[in-house]
Protein backbone atom coordinates (compact mmCIF):
# COMPACT_ATOMS: atom_id res chain seq x y z
CA UNK A 1 0.00 0.00 0.00
CA UNK A 2 1.23 3.49 -0.82
CA UNK A 3 1.77 5.89 2.04
CA UNK A 4 -1.13 8.30 2.27
CA UNK A 5 -1.92 11.26 4.47
CA UNK A 6 -3.83 9.80 7.38
CA UNK A 7 -5.03 13.16 8.66
CA UNK A 8 -7.43 13.43 5.74
CA UNK A 9 -9.21 10.18 6.62
CA UNK A 10 -12.23 9.79 8.87
CA UNK A 11 -12.11 7.45 11.87
CA UNK A 12 -14.21 4.95 9.96
CA UNK A 13 -11.82 5.08 7.00
CA UNK A 14 -8.89 4.62 9.34
CA UNK A 15 -10.54 1.52 10.82
CA UNK A 16 -11.14 0.17 7.31
CA UNK A 17 -7.52 0.75 6.42
CA UNK A 18 -6.40 -0.84 9.69
CA UNK A 19 -8.46 -3.91 8.78
CA UNK A 20 -7.11 -4.09 5.24
CA UNK A 21 -3.53 -3.89 6.51
CA UNK A 22 -4.12 -6.69 9.01
CA UNK A 23 -5.60 -8.89 6.29
CA UNK A 24 -2.53 -8.25 4.16
CA UNK A 25 -0.33 -9.09 7.14
CA UNK A 26 -2.22 -12.35 7.54
CA UNK A 27 -1.42 -13.32 3.95
CA UNK A 28 2.20 -12.17 4.29
CA UNK A 29 2.65 -14.36 7.36
CA UNK A 30 1.01 -17.34 5.65
CA UNK A 31 3.51 -17.08 2.83
CA UNK A 32 6.50 -16.50 5.11
CA UNK A 33 7.03 -12.99 3.74
CA UNK A 34 8.40 -11.36 6.88
CA UNK A 35 9.73 -8.26 5.12
CA UNK A 36 6.26 -7.45 3.79
CA UNK A 37 4.69 -8.24 7.16
CA UNK A 38 7.03 -5.77 8.86
CA UNK A 39 6.37 -3.01 6.31
CA UNK A 40 2.65 -3.44 6.93
CA UNK A 41 3.32 -3.44 10.67
CA UNK A 42 4.80 0.07 10.41
CA UNK A 43 1.63 1.21 8.64
CA UNK A 44 -0.51 -0.31 11.39
CA UNK A 45 1.48 1.66 13.97
CA UNK A 46 0.93 4.87 11.98
CA UNK A 47 -2.83 4.32 11.98
CA UNK A 48 -2.85 3.50 15.69
CA UNK A 49 -0.93 6.74 16.37
CA UNK A 50 -3.35 8.71 14.20
CA UNK A 51 -6.38 7.27 16.02
CA UNK A 52 -4.77 7.90 19.40
CA UNK A 53 -4.11 11.50 18.42
CA UNK A 54 -7.71 12.23 17.46
CA UNK A 55 -9.97 14.00 19.98
CA UNK A 56 -11.07 11.57 22.69
CA UNK A 57 -8.52 8.94 21.64
CA UNK A 58 -10.29 7.14 18.82
CA UNK A 59 -8.49 3.84 19.33
CA UNK A 60 -11.78 2.83 20.94
CA UNK A 61 -13.14 2.52 17.37
CA UNK A 62 -11.01 -0.63 17.02
CA UNK A 63 -13.23 -2.46 19.51
CA UNK A 64 -15.63 -3.18 16.63
CA UNK A 65 -12.92 -5.48 15.20
CA UNK A 66 -12.67 -7.75 18.25
CA UNK A 67 -15.14 -10.16 16.63
CA UNK A 68 -13.71 -10.01 13.11
CA UNK A 69 -13.40 -13.47 11.51
CA UNK A 70 -9.70 -12.98 10.76
CA UNK A 71 -7.32 -13.69 13.68
CA UNK A 72 -4.71 -11.12 12.58
CA UNK A 73 -7.36 -8.38 12.53
CA UNK A 74 -8.51 -9.39 16.03
CA UNK A 75 -4.94 -9.53 17.33
CA UNK A 76 -3.96 -6.12 15.97
CA UNK A 77 -7.18 -4.52 17.18
CA UNK A 78 -6.92 -6.01 20.67
CA UNK A 79 -3.26 -5.06 21.08
CA UNK A 80 -3.73 -1.53 19.78
CA UNK A 81 -6.93 -0.84 21.76
CA UNK A 82 -5.68 -2.38 25.00
CA UNK A 83 -4.97 1.00 26.58
CA UNK A 84 -8.50 2.32 25.98
CA UNK A 85 -10.55 -0.85 26.33
CA UNK A 86 -8.49 -3.17 28.53
CA UNK A 87 -11.16 -5.67 29.60
CA UNK A 88 -12.64 -6.38 26.16
CA UNK A 89 -9.19 -6.36 24.54
CA UNK A 90 -7.92 -8.86 27.06
CA UNK A 91 -10.89 -11.11 26.41
CA UNK A 92 -10.22 -10.97 22.66
CA UNK A 93 -6.58 -11.94 23.25
CA UNK A 94 -7.60 -14.75 25.57
CA UNK A 95 -9.96 -16.15 22.92
CA UNK A 96 -7.14 -16.21 20.36
CA UNK A 97 -4.99 -18.20 22.78
CA UNK A 98 -7.78 -20.51 23.90
CA UNK A 99 -8.69 -21.28 20.27
CA UNK A 100 -5.01 -22.00 19.44
CA UNK A 101 -5.16 -19.74 16.39
CA UNK A 102 -1.44 -19.83 15.65
CA UNK A 103 0.70 -17.89 15.11
CA UNK A 104 -1.54 -15.00 16.23
CA UNK A 105 -2.24 -16.96 19.43
CA UNK A 106 1.48 -16.72 20.25
CA UNK A 107 1.44 -12.92 20.19
CA UNK A 108 -1.81 -12.88 22.19
CA UNK A 109 -0.26 -15.15 24.83
CA UNK A 110 2.85 -12.99 24.98
CA UNK A 111 0.76 -9.89 25.72
CA UNK A 112 -1.45 -11.75 28.23
CA UNK A 113 1.67 -12.97 30.06
CA UNK A 114 3.21 -9.50 30.01
CA UNK A 115 -0.04 -8.03 31.38
CA UNK A 116 -0.06 -10.57 34.22
CA UNK A 117 3.57 -9.75 35.01
CA UNK A 118 3.00 -5.99 34.71
CA UNK A 119 5.60 -5.69 31.95
CA UNK A 120 3.40 -5.14 28.89
CA UNK A 121 4.34 -2.22 26.71
CA UNK A 122 0.78 -1.99 25.48
CA UNK A 123 -1.16 -1.24 28.64
Amino acid sequence: MNRISLQSLTVSQLVDRFTALALEQYEAERHGDTARFNRLFDEVVRIKDELAGRAGDQRSALVTLFDHPNPQVRLNAAQRALAVSPVAARQALQRLWDNREFPQAAYAHQTLTALDEGTSRLS
Partner: protein
Protein backbone atom coordinates in the same frame (compact mmCIF):
# COMPACT_ATOMS: atom_id res chain seq x y z
CA UNK B 1 78.84 -68.22 27.92
CA UNK B 2 75.92 -70.13 26.39
CA UNK B 3 73.69 -69.05 29.28
CA UNK B 4 74.60 -65.41 28.56
CA UNK B 5 73.62 -65.77 24.91
CA UNK B 6 70.31 -67.35 25.86
CA UNK B 7 69.64 -64.55 28.38
CA UNK B 8 70.46 -61.87 25.81
CA UNK B 9 68.24 -63.54 23.21
CA UNK B 10 65.46 -63.81 25.80
CA UNK B 11 65.76 -60.11 26.66
CA UNK B 12 65.74 -59.19 22.96
CA UNK B 13 62.54 -61.14 22.39
CA UNK B 14 60.90 -59.60 25.46
CA UNK B 15 61.80 -56.12 24.22
CA UNK B 16 60.50 -56.90 20.73
CA UNK B 17 57.26 -58.23 22.19
CA UNK B 18 56.87 -55.11 24.30
CA UNK B 19 57.42 -52.94 21.20
CA UNK B 20 54.86 -54.97 19.20
CA UNK B 21 52.33 -54.70 22.04
CA UNK B 22 52.88 -50.95 22.32
CA UNK B 23 52.45 -50.57 18.57
CA UNK B 24 49.20 -52.56 18.71
CA UNK B 25 47.92 -50.40 21.54
CA UNK B 26 48.81 -47.28 19.60
CA UNK B 27 46.98 -48.65 16.55
CA UNK B 28 43.95 -49.44 18.69
CA UNK B 29 44.00 -45.97 20.21
CA UNK B 30 44.29 -44.37 16.76
CA UNK B 31 41.39 -46.50 15.52
CA UNK B 32 39.30 -45.47 18.53
CA UNK B 33 40.02 -41.78 17.93
CA UNK B 34 39.16 -42.16 14.24
CA UNK B 35 35.91 -43.93 15.13
CA UNK B 36 34.98 -41.27 17.69
CA UNK B 37 35.68 -38.46 15.21
CA UNK B 38 33.67 -40.23 12.52
CA UNK B 39 30.75 -40.71 14.93
CA UNK B 40 30.87 -37.02 15.84
CA UNK B 41 30.96 -35.99 12.18
CA UNK B 42 28.09 -38.38 11.47
CA UNK B 43 26.05 -36.87 14.33
CA UNK B 44 26.70 -33.35 13.11
CA UNK B 45 25.88 -34.34 9.54
CA UNK B 46 22.64 -35.93 10.75
CA UNK B 47 21.69 -32.75 12.59
CA UNK B 48 22.47 -30.60 9.55
CA UNK B 49 20.60 -33.03 7.33
CA UNK B 50 17.52 -32.99 9.55
CA UNK B 51 17.65 -29.20 9.71
CA UNK B 52 17.89 -29.03 5.93
CA UNK B 53 14.78 -31.15 5.61
CA UNK B 54 16.44 -34.50 4.80
CA UNK B 55 13.85 -37.26 4.71
CA UNK B 56 15.19 -40.80 4.53
CA UNK B 57 11.83 -41.98 3.20
CA UNK B 58 11.70 -39.41 0.38
CA UNK B 59 11.49 -41.29 -2.94
CA UNK B 60 14.46 -41.38 -5.32
CA UNK B 61 14.67 -41.78 -9.07
CA UNK B 62 15.02 -45.54 -9.64
CA UNK B 63 18.37 -47.09 -10.58
CA UNK B 64 18.98 -47.23 -14.36
CA UNK B 65 17.46 -43.79 -15.09
CA UNK B 66 19.75 -40.90 -16.07
CA UNK B 67 19.06 -39.24 -12.69
CA UNK B 68 19.04 -42.54 -10.78
CA UNK B 69 19.49 -42.11 -7.05
CA UNK B 70 18.58 -38.43 -6.95
CA UNK B 71 15.72 -37.23 -4.75
CA UNK B 72 12.50 -36.94 -6.67
CA UNK B 73 9.19 -35.16 -6.19
CA UNK B 74 7.04 -36.76 -3.53
CA UNK B 75 3.96 -38.67 -4.54
CA UNK B 76 4.93 -38.89 -8.16
CA UNK B 77 1.49 -38.14 -9.52
CA UNK B 78 -0.60 -35.18 -10.46
CA UNK B 79 -2.23 -34.93 -7.05
CA UNK B 80 -5.62 -34.52 -8.65
CA UNK B 81 -8.39 -35.28 -6.25
CA UNK B 82 -10.61 -38.23 -6.98
CA UNK B 83 -14.13 -37.00 -7.74
CA UNK B 84 -16.82 -37.88 -5.29
CA UNK B 85 -14.46 -38.73 -2.44
CA UNK B 86 -14.42 -36.93 0.90
CA UNK B 87 -11.80 -34.19 0.88
CA UNK B 88 -11.90 -33.75 -2.86
CA UNK B 89 -13.41 -30.31 -2.52
CA UNK B 90 -10.44 -29.07 -0.47
CA UNK B 91 -7.40 -28.24 -2.56
CA UNK B 92 -4.39 -27.18 -0.52
CA UNK B 93 -2.69 -24.52 -2.57
CA UNK B 94 -4.34 -23.38 -5.74
CA UNK B 95 -4.47 -26.65 -7.68
CA UNK B 96 -3.64 -29.59 -5.44
CA UNK B 97 -0.28 -29.88 -7.25
CA UNK B 98 2.94 -29.95 -5.24
CA UNK B 99 4.08 -26.30 -5.03
CA UNK B 100 7.45 -25.74 -6.72
CA UNK B 101 9.20 -23.83 -3.91
CA UNK B 102 9.97 -24.82 -0.34
CA UNK B 103 8.35 -21.63 0.97
CA UNK B 104 5.07 -22.36 -0.82
CA UNK B 105 5.08 -25.97 0.35
CA UNK B 106 5.65 -24.84 3.92
CA UNK B 107 2.77 -22.39 3.60
CA UNK B 108 0.40 -25.15 2.48
CA UNK B 109 1.66 -27.63 5.08
CA UNK B 110 1.15 -25.12 7.88
CA UNK B 111 -2.35 -24.33 6.59
CA UNK B 112 -3.15 -28.04 6.62
CA UNK B 113 -1.63 -28.57 10.08
CA UNK B 114 -3.58 -25.60 11.45
CA UNK B 115 -6.80 -26.83 9.87
CA UNK B 116 -6.26 -30.25 11.39
CA UNK B 117 -5.76 -28.55 14.74
CA UNK B 118 -8.96 -26.54 14.32
CA UNK B 119 -11.21 -29.16 12.71
CA UNK B 120 -9.82 -32.49 13.93
CA UNK B 121 -9.63 -33.80 10.35
CA UNK B 122 -6.80 -36.16 9.36
CA UNK B 123 -3.80 -35.83 7.03
CA UNK B 124 -5.42 -38.46 4.82
CA UNK B 125 -8.45 -36.22 4.38
CA UNK B 126 -6.30 -33.45 2.91
CA UNK B 127 -4.06 -35.86 1.01
CA UNK B 128 -7.06 -36.96 -1.03
CA UNK B 129 -6.98 -33.55 -2.68
CA UNK B 130 -3.17 -33.30 -2.88
CA UNK B 131 -1.27 -36.55 -2.55
CA UNK B 132 2.12 -34.88 -2.14
CA UNK B 133 1.03 -33.86 1.37
CA UNK B 134 1.17 -37.48 2.51
CA UNK B 135 4.97 -37.47 2.35
CA UNK B 136 5.00 -34.69 4.95
CA UNK B 137 2.55 -36.39 7.29
CA UNK B 138 5.23 -36.59 10.02
CA UNK B 139 5.77 -32.80 9.83
CA UNK B 140 2.02 -32.19 10.01
CA UNK B 141 1.43 -34.62 12.87
CA UNK B 142 4.33 -33.16 14.87
CA UNK B 143 2.90 -29.63 14.50
CA UNK B 144 -0.05 -30.60 16.64
CA UNK B 145 2.01 -32.12 19.47
CA UNK B 146 0.84 -30.93 22.87
CA UNK B 147 3.29 -28.65 24.72
CA UNK B 148 6.08 -30.54 26.49
CA UNK B 149 8.33 -29.92 29.48
CA UNK B 150 11.77 -28.41 28.87
CA UNK B 151 13.36 -31.68 30.02
CA UNK B 152 11.39 -33.66 27.42
CA UNK B 153 12.31 -31.22 24.64
CA UNK B 154 15.99 -31.30 25.64
CA UNK B 155 16.03 -35.09 25.87
CA UNK B 156 14.61 -35.28 22.35
CA UNK B 157 17.52 -33.23 20.97
CA UNK B 158 19.81 -36.28 21.14
CA UNK B 159 17.49 -38.33 18.91
CA UNK B 160 16.51 -36.67 15.62
CA UNK B 161 13.15 -37.83 14.27
CA UNK B 162 11.10 -37.28 11.12
CA UNK B 163 8.94 -34.17 11.40
CA UNK B 164 11.24 -32.55 13.96
CA UNK B 165 14.21 -30.18 13.97
CA UNK B 166 16.91 -29.52 16.53
CA UNK B 167 16.47 -25.92 17.67
CA UNK B 168 18.82 -23.64 19.61
CA UNK B 169 16.91 -21.91 22.43
CA UNK B 170 19.35 -19.00 22.12
CA UNK B 171 19.49 -18.31 18.39
CA UNK B 172 22.80 -19.63 17.12
CA UNK B 173 23.63 -17.28 14.24
CA UNK B 174 23.09 -14.09 16.21
CA UNK B 175 24.81 -15.48 19.33
CA UNK B 176 27.86 -16.43 17.27
CA UNK B 177 27.90 -12.99 15.62
CA UNK B 178 27.84 -11.40 19.06
CA UNK B 179 30.86 -13.42 20.19
CA UNK B 180 29.36 -16.22 22.29
CA UNK B 181 31.57 -19.34 22.10
CA UNK B 182 30.41 -22.23 19.96
CA UNK B 183 30.59 -24.71 22.87
CA UNK B 184 28.09 -22.59 24.83
CA UNK B 185 25.79 -22.25 21.81
CA UNK B 186 25.86 -26.00 21.10
CA UNK B 187 25.67 -27.03 24.76
CA UNK B 188 22.91 -29.65 25.29
CA UNK B 189 21.25 -27.18 27.67
CA UNK B 190 20.62 -24.92 24.68
CA UNK B 191 19.25 -27.61 22.37
CA UNK B 192 15.66 -28.82 22.07
CA UNK B 193 13.81 -30.95 19.56
CA UNK B 194 10.80 -29.11 18.16
CA UNK B 195 8.23 -29.86 15.44
CA UNK B 196 9.68 -28.71 12.11
CA UNK B 197 6.70 -26.55 11.15
CA UNK B 198 6.77 -24.95 14.62
CA UNK B 199 10.49 -24.34 14.12
CA UNK B 200 9.62 -22.30 11.04
CA UNK B 201 7.05 -20.36 13.06
CA UNK B 202 9.68 -19.69 15.73
CA UNK B 203 12.09 -18.37 13.08
CA UNK B 204 9.32 -16.15 11.72
CA UNK B 205 8.51 -14.95 15.24
CA UNK B 206 12.13 -13.85 15.76
CA UNK B 207 12.06 -11.75 12.59
CA UNK B 208 8.62 -10.23 13.00
CA UNK B 209 8.14 -6.78 14.52
CA UNK B 210 6.39 -7.03 17.85
CA UNK B 211 4.75 -4.34 20.00
CA UNK B 212 5.93 -6.06 23.19
CA UNK B 213 9.53 -5.49 22.06
CA UNK B 214 9.01 -1.77 21.51
CA UNK B 215 7.88 -2.30 17.88
CA UNK B 216 11.17 -4.11 17.12
CA UNK B 217 11.59 -7.74 16.12
CA UNK B 218 12.91 -10.01 18.89
CA UNK B 219 16.11 -10.39 16.86
CA UNK B 220 16.62 -6.62 16.75
CA UNK B 221 15.73 -6.34 20.43
CA UNK B 222 18.24 -9.04 21.44
CA UNK B 223 21.20 -7.60 19.57
CA UNK B 224 24.02 -7.01 22.08
CA UNK B 225 22.04 -8.44 25.02
CA UNK B 226 23.22 -10.98 27.60
CA UNK B 227 22.91 -14.75 27.28
CA UNK B 228 20.31 -14.78 30.09
CA UNK B 229 18.04 -12.30 28.31
CA UNK B 230 18.35 -14.25 25.04
CA UNK B 231 17.51 -17.49 26.82
CA UNK B 232 14.48 -15.96 28.54
CA UNK B 233 13.20 -14.71 25.16
CA UNK B 234 13.97 -18.08 23.55
CA UNK B 235 11.94 -19.92 26.19
CA UNK B 236 9.17 -17.36 25.87
CA UNK B 237 8.98 -18.04 22.12
CA UNK B 238 8.65 -21.77 22.81
CA UNK B 239 5.89 -21.18 25.37
CA UNK B 240 3.98 -18.66 23.26
CA UNK B 241 4.05 -20.92 20.20
CA UNK B 242 2.70 -23.84 22.19
CA UNK B 243 5.85 -25.98 22.13
CA UNK B 244 6.87 -25.62 25.78
CA UNK B 245 4.45 -26.03 28.67
CA UNK B 246 3.59 -22.63 30.21
Amino acid sequence: MRADVIEIEWQRRLTLNAIVCSLSELKCLAAEVRLERAMRRHGQALQVAWKAGFKPDQPRVPKGNPDGGKWTAEGGDSGDPKPGKEGASYKPGSSGQRPPTSRERTSVLRDVARQIQQTGKTVEFFARAAKWIQVYSADIAAYNDPPKSLEDLQRGASTPAPGYDIHHIVEQAQAEQDGFPREVIDDPNNLVRVPRLKHQEINGWYQTKNPEFGELSPREYLSGRSWEVRRAVGLQALRDLGVLKP
